[in-house]
């Protein structure tokens, strides 16, 4: 056994920093209520997410519909396409368009709910 082993080891003890006040984290809902910069960032990011989702949903439905008269107007071969007795135009715009928009709408509702749930978890700190 050497002497050095008997000596208590030097230990560094760090006390709490005095220059920062310890307090429970502020709920984000308060930040939003007080319209602090943090609160505004949270709110704007929610609005932006929901707006982008909404615009994507609209594009998903409207872009193919706008393409229909262009395709059928400029590409005559499309006009003679038939599925059974029904011309393609009528099959798409008379029947298929309705289940399709219902499907897109269902997808939108799921995504919008998910965005809101994420926002709720975030601001309520769960």
């Amino acid at each position: 056994m050497s002497k050095s082993e008997n000596k208590p080891r030097r230990e560094v003890i760090i006390g709490p920093r005095r220059d920062v006040r310890r307090r429970p984290p502020r709920p984000v809902t308060d930040e939003i209520d007080d319209q602090t910069r943090v609160g505004k960032v949270y709110l704007r990011s929610l609005i932006r997410t929901q707006l982008l989702l909404g615009l994507a949903t609209v594009a998903l439905v409207v872009v193919p519909l706008i393409a229909m008269p262009l395709i059928f107007g400029w590409w005559p071969a499309a006009r003679s396409l038939q599925v059974g007795p029904l011309p393609l135009w009528w099959l798409i715009l008379g029947i298929l368009v309705y289940p399709a928009i219902l499907g897109v709408g269902w997808w939108y509702v799921r995504q919008a709910d998910r965005n809101e749930a994420q926002f709720t978890d975030l601001v309520e700190g769960r």
Partner: protein, 579 residues
Amino acid sequence: MNAPAALGMVLTVIVTIGLAAYSSRLARTTGDFYVASRSVPSWWNASAIAGEYLSAASFLGVAGLIMVGGADAVWFPVGYAVGYVLLLALVAAPLRRSGAYTLPDFCEARLRSRHVRLIASALVVLIGWLYVLPQLQGAGLALQILLDTPVWVGGMLVSLTVLVVIVGGGMRSVTLVQGFQYWLKVVAIMVPVLFLLAAWRADSGPSTLTETPPTFHGTTTVKVESDIEVTVTDPVRVLADGSVDGNVIDGPVLWGEGNHRVGSRTTLTFPDGAAVPHLSSTPAQTGRDWGQTLQGGQEHALYRTFALMFALFLGTMGLPHVLVRFYTNPDGRAARRTALVVIGLVGLFYLAPSVYGMLGRLYTPELLMTGRTDAVVLLLPQALVGGWSGEWLTALVAAGAAAAFLATATGLTVTVAGVLSQDVVGRWISNPIVSFRVAAAAAVLVPLLLGLTAESLPLARAVSLAFAVAAATFSPLLLLGIWWRRLTDVGAAAGLIVGGVTASAAIVISTLVPSLTGWPSALLAQPAAWAMPAAFATMVVVSRRSSHRLRPGVDRIMIRLHTPESVGVQRTWIARGQR
């Protein structure tokens, strides 16, 4: 006189009044009504919205337009349904969270301005009347065709029924009535489709996409109700009773190629297989061209197609009677679910009109000659199925048509009356119930009188004008009001005025000057495609220039519109210093 049809219509009216009276006993005050309706499940609330939405234009007009316009007319039902996708994705939940009951309420809540509120109220009344007018004309047409009454009787009866329901049945025609009327309409249009398709197959399923224009199916007697001019392509021997080419005739006439005038109250009998003379204003089309897009020979057909899509896609969110119903959802999430179910319900309904339009060209082609294609849904069951089952199917479609006039006319009248009583009549009459009744009478009378004088347009086209005004005014207001915090009261007012004035002026000019051709005709007939962007741009530019008018509470309103109700944040604006 068609007894089953009369029975169908009378039953619909009785059940409507009965349900309204029953539900008004359940909810004695408006407060009761709101509370009660908030416990209504999404799908029933959605039925009510769809019930109010599917008007005479949908029930009768869409099939009629498809019968004439073919591939290009499918945009009407598609547009009426797709409008709800935009409503769902961009408006439904925030609008519900705004707590606004009507569009003027939304303006006041979002912009805190009485002036914008008044402009919005004026627009609600304008759009409401534009939309009620074709309902009354449709009722007149339906009763004239089925019961042989003068054309004003139908509109008068619908107006009276609406007044009885509103005044007797309480402040609002209730969710129960409107929901019931949706299901009645779906059954009334779908069940005959099954019979029609079966009868068509039994007739060896002839194709609509023929190489020739439509021909008469069997010896056909046509009753001409108003003066018309028709174009004959193949010489035909007609048995006439009435006035033809200015001569009073009772017996056979040989019609050569060219135009012929037929006076009102004339009966013409055509032989089986003869080519159908077309109204001179709408050229005859082969079945093949009818089934193809952009073959109608209209000038700037592509612009008209896109402008129509624009009006219908964006107009739906601006229809005042539709938006009112979103308030009855418990929260924003439920509002989205309701809008989604509406897409399903409305889509289910719109599967049917194309079938009527296609089969109408084969079995009731005389409507192409008289121009009364709006009647195809009412006449096709008798023409194709025939016999007693044809009569009962006619009763069913008559009941559905009655439900269509009543549901939409009631919903619109209530909305218009609410606005009139709050912002106009209420200034002179302080008793809210009396003022609402006076307003309801005014809301019914004006379109009724207009309907007696105005030229009758095809139903679905007349309704698309209301959509165009809604698209040019409320749609930019809602889109910017919900998603752009910097919209100011001045910007909103300027945009509403620009959109409202340009769209209505275009409609008035194109109705009064039908002789326009080329681009002016196309642009004025379908104004939404330019009036909506103009209103949108006006709102943005004027708001940017008046940003000093932004209220300090605007962020609080954005919080309210966009945060889910479950998050515990302050949703009402409290002025600084009060906290």
